[in-house]
Assembly symmetry: C2
Homo-oligomer: 439 residues x 2
Amino acid sequence: MEEAARLTESIKELLSGGREERLGQVLEDSYPADIATVLRELPVPERVHVFRLLPPTQAGAVLSELDDQTLLELVRALDEHEVSRILDRMPPDHVVEVVEELPKEQADKILDLMEEEKSEEVQELLEYPENTAGRLMAREFVAVHENATVAQAIEHIRKAATGDDHDHLVGLVPLHRLLTADPTIPVRAIRTEDVETVSVDTDQEEVARLVQRYNVIEVPVVDGSHRLLGTISVDDVIDVIHEEATEDIQRLGGVPGDETLLDPPEAVFTKRLIWRMINLGTAVLAASVIGLFETSIQALATLAVFMPIVASMGGIGTTQTATVVIRGIALGEMTSGVLRRVLWKEVWLAFMTSVANGLVLALIAYLWKGSWLLALILGVALIFTMVVAAVAGTLVPIALRAFQVDPAIASGVIITTFTDVFGFFSFLGLATLMMRFLL
Amino acid sequence: MEEAARLTESIKELLSGGREERLGQVLEDSYPADIATVLRELPVPERVHVFRLLPPTQAGAVLSELDDQTLLELVRALDEHEVSRILDRMPPDHVVEVVEELPKEQADKILDLMEEEKSEEVQELLEYPENTAGRLMAREFVAVHENATVAQAIEHIRKAATGDDHDHLVGLVPLHRLLTADPTIPVRAIRTEDVETVSVDTDQEEVARLVQRYNVIEVPVVDGSHRLLGTISVDDVIDVIHEEATEDIQRLGGVPGDETLLDPPEAVFTKRLIWRMINLGTAVLAASVIGLFETSIQALATLAVFMPIVASMGGIGTTQTATVVIRGIALGEMTSGVLRRVLWKEVWLAFMTSVANGLVLALIAYLWKGSWLLALILGVALIFTMVVAAVAGTLVPIALRAFQVDPAIASGVIITTFTDVFGFFSFLGLATLMMRFLL
């Protein structure tokens, strides 16, 4: 990050000093990712200016590093011919990453202006749905017959011949084995036996899981007859892992998974609003529970003071539990065989911590309001609520998963409503039952 | 995951049928990660039994895939001699991953029983602090002088000679370039010019960021004089990325970052409790604000019904904002140059959505309680609270970051308290000012 910050400073300086030549040099020596960071901080005219100073190959690499919003603004300001010339020099799978973010009309125009062969390859990749292995794969790979010798294989790679024989995939040969093997033996002897493969429509999340789980660093994409169509490299997979983590984190926070920091507010307004409206609905539902006890509150306004504490403690309990469970589901650790153990852990934790919390809360309530009975009711309601929160926090995500709903999206709302309602109900209900002793 | 589920089924079946030989075969053909998933579901005696059926190299690979709790239970049940024999066959950096999870006494005993050379290598790695590049690096690498020819370099690799000459690192040579280059030219001509390096005490998160940002797939670890000490491979980095994502997600949910699904409850009790106690403190603080308005609530209990709605809406607003900002910080996108844009986006969103939410809430309140004034007060308090929530949700994480505090840990508590207090205060305050018109 610091490198990007330093680069930003020096580029801004060179720009204002009009030192174009030096600027060109600095850009040539910088990493595309760092240049991308600089570009998003510049106003559009200067962004275009700096971008045009980049050497063509560098320009392509920078385009694939840009966040969606900066990319859109930049491409809108550039000439379509200019963009297509840059894309011509990029590998098809990287072109796809750029083109898929553009408005359809503009994307079509740019694809039309590109070299025919490259443009066709890109369009073929674009036919695979977003977030699938097909979109990610590079179609340049080297394939040799398993009876070829090591020397022949190396010769094949030297010629940079791409695989065009559509035979069954029978194994992979790590380069270091090829390099160190006796040149006269067949590659069959040094290939791996079992290869994990995916199909073009495998979800990218599944590809990432495969890489993490089995430590593979290049995933072959095959068709129904196990013929090799392309390969997915580990740096694409790392990007996917980041994307998916962002998605999970944002969904837990009630944000649509694909929002980025610099999205224009109008673009995310509807999605944010939907979530806030749902929250309003559930908050009104919880309020209606309080409404049932309005007479009790009228009689003893102190209840209104303590009531949010119980709900808030149910909230933290449920958040902690659901967070661990949802992450466990995402990592594939939450299998049916361990459900009972997890449930027991969470209920134990809820009970033990809420006894401690309940004692402290009861003490505070007694010191504040002087009523032992009120303190007792608070403590008991707290324990009730937190145990119920632990059960809900464990079972709701699992149930959602079983119904094919992403637990990260819906768990928060459902469980919070549940614990709010239960928290208000248990405390106000107990207090109402004991009302004549409280007054 | 399905593969692991199928494997679990068939292993349980073979175990209960006593078909040991077939079981051994199935295990030999399975991936270590899948076997690890099976082991955690088995009760300890059967876990030990199955583990002992594994071929020695497979056993080591399974050990490094196990989650901490399952590993602890398994090693406790095994003989130390047995464990040390397995560790002897593993690469030192993988042995470290196992040994660092064990209680000190047991770890020392096992290290004592291991082959001397391997044990020493492991102990050297263990001297680097946890979560640093030093712990992650493999010390087996091939280094040649830049004046060596390609043919000499390949010969060097064939001999599997590890780098022992402590010269400056001047570049890396990708294997495919070595393979396709003219054997008579010096490697100098095909090496990369700029290499991103880390030192042994670089934080693993920084290593992961480097890999993601610059698409490198092997990170060299160097000392102060730029001498090569080891390399970190991409599959270790992928594990780090997952670990760090888990940490971020858990911290956002108020859970210590290193908790796993199956940790025994006693082990996480204290950390969970601390968080719940902090939450209790902030909830009491918010309640004390309500306490200021007890007379108003006594006069009009309806206020208690609506009061949590305003706080809850402040909560969702702040959660959405802080989630995007905190993830932006983690991804390095939240630079000072874009702060104003982000703040404007969030305030705009807060205002526009809260006007929509406020209208709906006011309508509900009017239909329910029949008071236009109460409806108006609710709507205004909601807009106030949500705009303040947006500002706090943006600035608090950034401020924490500036004070070197992980924003994922502390933001939640601070911001929630803030919006709770502000929400209660604005609604109850406005209502109290207008009380004589409300009654």
